[in-house]
């Protein structure tokens, strides 16, 4: 029976299916101080948690867009092992619409690259976090996001930071998933939840419903 054994060299290798995630984060002036510090801690935690997970680190591809004095592509999609942990600074206004539009453009480009390279991928995610209300026009970005979500092409996690976050504006971007408010400045708990969610998704198979953990550890109770 040992003669009838396939060698691994006679197999083929396929790239790991990717989970593309774009963090779209408010770095406006009101985030100065403890909020931006805790947000930086959360992003760092997220990247380190994914790196430690063998399966998730091969699957997850993270991008990071900030909106404050400008809309900035801080990190483009790529292997999390090769990305430097960013240090975000706060200042300026809240151009949320432009930031979401940029994130959607980046996701679209990434999906096209995957398709051209024969790389499978899971449904993309956007994590949208803000502590206020947008200072630009969000209608076009919201309409694009809603169309993708309604066609099951995208999931958005809209998160409000602090008591001044305008949840009604966040709702415009997520017709199916209601926005949640972060409990205090519990960014690390949120990003811990996010990293576990990525891990579950990266191991899911066709026909399998991915059940995410309850957000109770990080979400304010009145929005749950």
């Amino acid at each position: 029976m040992d003669d009838l054994l396939i060698s691994t060299q006679e197999l083929t290798e396929n790239p790991t299916a990717r989970v593309p995630i774009c963090l779209v984060l408010d770095t406006s002036g009101s985030m100065t101080g403890a909020p931006i510090e805790e947000l930086n801690n959360g992003v760092k935690y997220f990247m380190e948690a994914i790196r430690k997970d063998d399966i998730a680190s091969a699957a997850a591809e993270m991008a990071l867009v900030t909106f404050g004095s400008t809309v900035q592509k801080v990190l483009d999609f790529g292997s999390i092992h090769r990305q430097a942990v960013p240090t975000l600074t706060a200042g300026g206004r809240t151009p949320m619409g432009a930031a979401v539009n940029l994130a959607l453009d980046m996701l679209e480009a990434r999906k096209q690259l995957y398709s051209a390279s024969g790389v499978d991928y899971y449904q993309p995610w956007i994590v949208l976090m803000t502590d206020g209300m947008p200072t630009d026009d969000v209608e076009q970005a919201a309409a694009r996001a809603c169309q993708l979500i309604n066609n099951r092409k995208l999931t958005i996690f809209p998160i409000g930071i602090g008591p001044d976050a305008d949840m009604e504006f966040l709702k415009k971007f997520s017709p199916k998933r209601p926005p949640l408010r972060l409990k205090g400045l519990n960014f690390v708990a949120f990003f811990e939840w996010l990293s576990k969610s990525v891990s579950s998704t990266s191991q899911s198979m066709p026909g399998e419903k991915v059940t995410l953990e309850s957000p109770a550890s990080w979400a304010s109770w009145e929005t749950l």
Binding site: L4, L5, E10, N14, Q123, M205, P206
Partner: protein, 277 residues
């Protein structure tokens, strides 16, 4: 001279299901009846409560229907073929013992190949791959259909099943082998970028020219467990059809040929049971 096909298959529980104590949801089945050779394979949908049973019903029903109605299915319109197969499978599900509604509980993909004389018909719904072999060279007959995302596909109970099911019909020509595999096995046996098959499949096909069926079944099981399963966390199944050297007609004065063929057909159903723990 009669052409004969050897058929063998195996399924193994994937590492994810071993960890979660869930049964293997892949099923392979082969049938030789009325001169028709059929191999079928189905992969149950992960979260569905009776997916393992659904896969078994889909594979068995498809094999029996195709063996009984081969001629009709070869000539019918594509939509009619699809409708017949899906209706029969869905009907078998709801009539199954201890059926628990809704029917989505029994969702699975489906792959099959049937051969009669010099013609073949193949059907494919969902992911997994059907391949073939000609003169020692493999080719892809039917690639996976996942829709846009890696963890989505189409099932026997999907609303889009009629639209997504593919049927292939034609003359064998010099085709002398077929390979059916679930997406778990395809992870290391099918290259998604080049849309080509791994050399391992031709190696397995060549074994069929040299070894008896019981040796082949054991070897396939062994390889799925020790080699293929290690490349993925999913259940893995693989079924092979291999054309045998045509049987020589009996020399004048020899007896028993017809009895042997009848006995072979009567004992021709081979179910490769999924490895269920």
């Amino acid at each position: 001279m009669n052409s004969q096909w050897m058929m063998f298959g195996a399924s193994v529980q994937g590492r994810a299901h071993m960890k979660n104590e869930m049964p293997c949801q892949d099923y392979t089945f082969s049938l030789h009846r009325g001169g028709v050779y059929v191999c079928a394979l189905a992969d149950g949908a992960g979260s569905c409560s009776h997916a393992d049973k659904g896969a078994e019903i889909a594979a068995r029903t498809a094999a029996y229907v195709v063996s009984e109605r081969f001629g009709e299915l070869m000539e019918a319109e594509h939509e009619t073929c699809v409708r017949i197969l899906l209706e029969e499978i869905r009907s078998s599900i709801v009539r199954s013992p201890d059926y628990v509604e809704p029917i989505k509980n029994y969702s699975s993909t489906l792959l099959f190949v049937a051969v009669h004389g010099d013609r073949y018909i193949a059907g494919h719904l969902g992911d997994g791959v059907i391949g073939g072999e000609r003169a020692g060279v493999s080719f892809v007959l039917s690639p996976p259909d996942n829709g846009e995302f890696h963890n989505t596909t189409f099932f026997t109970t999907s609303e889009q099943a009629e639209e997504r099911m593919r049927i292939y019909r034609g003359e064998l020509g010099d085709i002398s082998g077929f390979f059916l595999m679930s997406d778990g096995a395809a992870e290391s046996l099918y290259n998604r970028k080049s849309e080509s098959l791994a050399p391992a499949l031709i190696k397995v096909r060549e074994w069929a020219d040299k070894y008896a069926i019981d040796v082949l079944e054991q070897a396939l099981q062994n390889n799925l467990e020790k080699v293929i399963r290690e490349q993925t966390i999913d259940d893995c199944s693989l079924a092979i059809m291999a054309l045998q050297r045509p049987a020589e007609p009996p020399s004048p004065g020899e007896e028993g040929g017809e009895c042997e063929r009848a006995a072979d057909e009567a004992a021709g159903d081979q179910a490769a049971r999924s490895d269920r723990n």
